[in-house]
């Protein structure tokens, strides 16, 4: 029995407004509500709502044979609650069918797994609670921000009680291994690891409307014929992609919704595959081996590593200056500060500071509110500095004050060493 595992990622950051250094110490509202609302509504109309409807119809039509999963970030949920409660409603309808699994993530789609184990644990926990509250079931499968994974991180996730996690196929150093099997974590074998089949996932997510591509135009029938060519012993195909593939990255006119609509029928009638959610895959298949990932991998950019967020000096400085504050946060109770602390950790803030897009693709520029990475850095640091001032003021009654602009022990070169 062969399994297809479809998992769609839903994330929107809470973007910062233009924050000048004069405001530091004087203004504690950091977010660009207008842009965030505008973008969220737009994606809801062009993608989330129509796609959810199609999926709901498919689930009802195939009465349990069509099963999928979603990984929705906490920042997306917070914004849905304010700007698009109809989207939450449509996800709840999907949850009610019993054929849809919801995964756990870090609450603010952050990089905390790389830096602070306690913070990481706290974030995953609060996210899982929100998912349970909204959709009725506590997640048993975890997906980190942009599938950042390493043996260490996997072990931590296992320690939190999760049965499985998703990540990218580690193409650079696992050439002989294939993503179409189930693996287990190298440190803690209790954790199953599902690897994204990059080629087949990206065929839909990236190449679908590219008329220069050899596979264009892609129909469900053609796609399933490729699935059928997969060798017999490879039992799993994991298709993980951004949900915005449907309607945003691949526009309505490209036929992507039609593809989605016709895919279950093709798969169920013309192939040996069945649809399974990630936890079902982890349950019904046997892991063939442990997967060794000594240094973190991800699904971001060409390099599939951490350079999308930590590749240049700006990013490294911002990251460092952010987590210097975690000691104080641990003792803080103020809800506004804690909320800001979450939102400031969203990985997108660092993503916008990448200098890769000077030469490279449009990926970093999509929904990027800044003209240049320097502006992104400047703005973020101004906000972070104000946050630090507020935190210091809050804590100064309770403990010693920590200055943010003084250099600390973790120098730049050590940081690169640590993450490369």
């Amino acid at each position: 029995m062969k399994s297809i595992c479809l998992c769609f990622k839903v994330h929107q950051p809470i973007r910062l407004r233009l924050y000048r250094f004069f405001e530091m110490g004087n203004s504690d509202y950091y977010y660009d509500d207008y842009t965030n609302e505008m973008i969220l509504r737009r994606v809801a109309e062009s993608c989330y709502l129509p796609a959810n409807k199609i999926i709901l119809d498919l689930i009802n039509k195939y009465q349990g044979s069509f099963r999928i999963a979603f990984s929705i970030s906490g920042t997306a949920i917070d914004q849905f609650k304010i700007y698009a409660p109809d989207v939450i409603e449509s996800f709840r309808k999907l949850a009610a069918t019993g054929c849809v699994e919801f995964l756990a993530e870090t609450y603010s789609h952050s990089l905390s797994a790389l830096k602070d184990e306690n913070e990481f644990r706290r974030q995953v926990d609060s996210h899982a609670t929100v998912i349970e509250t909204l959709f009725g079931k506590r997640p048993t499968v975890f997906a980190n921000t942009e599938f950042i994974y390493s043996d260490e991180i996997g072990a931590q996730v296992a320690g939190m009680g999760y049965k499985a996690t998703l990540t990218n196929e580690p193409t650079p150093f696992l050439k002989w291994k294939c993503p179409n099997y189930l693996y287990k974590n190298a440190i803690n074998p209790a954790l199953m690891v599902l690897l994204k089949n990059e080629r087949l996932s990206d065929d839909i997510a990236f190449r679908f409307s590219n008329s220069a591509w050899s596979g264009w135009p892609l129909t469900a029938a053609k796609y399933v014929s490729w699935l059928n060519k997969i060798p017999e012993e490879e039992k799993i195909v994991n298709l993980f992609m951004d949900y915005e593939t449907f309607g945003e990255h691949q526009k309505l006119g490209s036929g992507i919704f039609k593809f989605l609509g016709s895919l279950p029928s093709e798969v169920l009638h013309n192939s040996d595959f069945q649809f399974m959610t990630p936890s079902e895959v982890a349950q019904h298949h046997q892991p063939v081996a442990a997967i060794d990932v000594p240094r973190p991998i991800s699904c971001a950019d060409q390099e599939r590593d951490l350079t999308a967020w930590l590749g240049n000096e700006l990013q490294q400085e911002a990251f460092e200056k952010l987590y210097v504050l975690s000691g104080m946060i641990g003792k803080c109770n103020d809800p506004a500060l804690l909320k800001d602390w979450q939102y400031l950790q969203t990985s997108d803030h660092l993503y916008y500071m990448s200098t890769k897009y000077f030469s490279d693709g449009d990926v970093h520029a999509y929904f990027n509110p800044y003209d240049s990475p320097y502006m992104a850095f400047m703005n973020y640091m101004n906000v972070l500095n104000d946050f630090s001032i507020r935190l210091n003021r809050e804590m100064s009654g309770k403990g010693k004050v920590q200055a943010i602009n003084r250099p600390n022990n973790l120098t730049r070169s050590k940081l690169i060493e640590h993450y490369n």
Partner: protein, 431 residues
Amino acid sequence: MNINVLMFGWEFPPNISGGLGTACYGLTKGLTSFNDVDVTFVVPKVFGDEEKGNINLIGAGDVPVTNRRLNLKEFGKSIEYFEVGSKLVPYVDPEDYLRQSEYTVEGTKSLIETDIQGRVKFSGKYGPDLMSEIARYALVANVIAQDNQFDIIHAHDWLAYPAGIAAKQASGKPLVIHVHATDFDRSGGTVNPNVYAIEKRGMDVADKIITVSNLTRKIVIEKYGINPDKVITVYNAVEPYQHEDRTPIIKGLDEKIVTFLGRITMQKGPEYFVEAAYRVLQKMDNVRFVMAGSGDMMDKMIRRAAQLRITDKFHFTGFLKGDDVYRMLRMSDIYIMPSVSEPFGISPLEAMQAGVPVIISQQSGVAEILSNAIKINFWDINGMADAIHAILSYPGMSKMLSKYGKKESCNLSWKNAAYEVKQVYQSALRA
């Protein structure tokens, strides 16, 4: 196919007063590095201390013009008349001839002041005699065009356009004009009608027009009514970093230094710098601001700084030349160019080569090609102040701008620009 270029400029290093001479020099050097391009560069006055390399440099003041026929094949005339000291710029075409018909022409006499050896006097500067100097330059250009073999004419900026036109009429060869700046940039909109007329005439007569940025290209097309097909952008570049000495600069001040280096005139936006400095000084103490240069607005800026009570941290150096410029840059932590309208702007590139982070205005040509610079609208004083604060407070930012800015500016070579100019020549020759 060898291309012989007859180039008309106005300045040649080291006797320069702005970017024009630097740009001409760099471009010419770049062109002569190609085996199949030869350049004859004409300036009004050769001073004798020029570093010409393999450029054939001619001073218009060294060319005898008496008893010469001025060749005007296009109009079938072989005589023309120039009046010295006239406010109107006399062009060698029938319309002007008619307008000045009260002056009669006899034989091959041309009324122009020369020395005993028949050479016309040029100052090569921007004196009160400028208009007539341009006219005399055109006259001599006509003669030079008869005496030299070349395939194409290239005239830099409005001062040389009449010369380029005269050379075209003497030879029938195609004319390329190079717009380094327009009067719109210099005046902020209220152009001098005489200068505008010269500029427009040059653009109309030219076969191809090169502009130093898309900003300038837009102005040429929209304000001068020129066909876009004729106008091509070729970005300026910067000479490689000459100063190899690593003698440490002993900076006597502890504070960070933010520098404005340029003419203190409306076009360069000095007042925005002063206001931004004031904003920054309200929140930061460990910084000093320097306005290096001189110009017609200098007094006004000094008074404003005094009014804002910032003269303990805001300093004026007066005009800097040669090595002092370089020393100033090396002492700086930020270089800022808040120009209101800058056709290109080579100076930020020089700062970047020295590893200095730069803040430049969006309204400059050089902003079109730079990634590792902070770009702000010239009027956005708060944005400028924010950027200054960020570069001085966040070491990651200044390190990155310094490191990658240096790399980026070192990649902008005159050879690339020259190559593109060569393409323009070839398209003009083909037509």
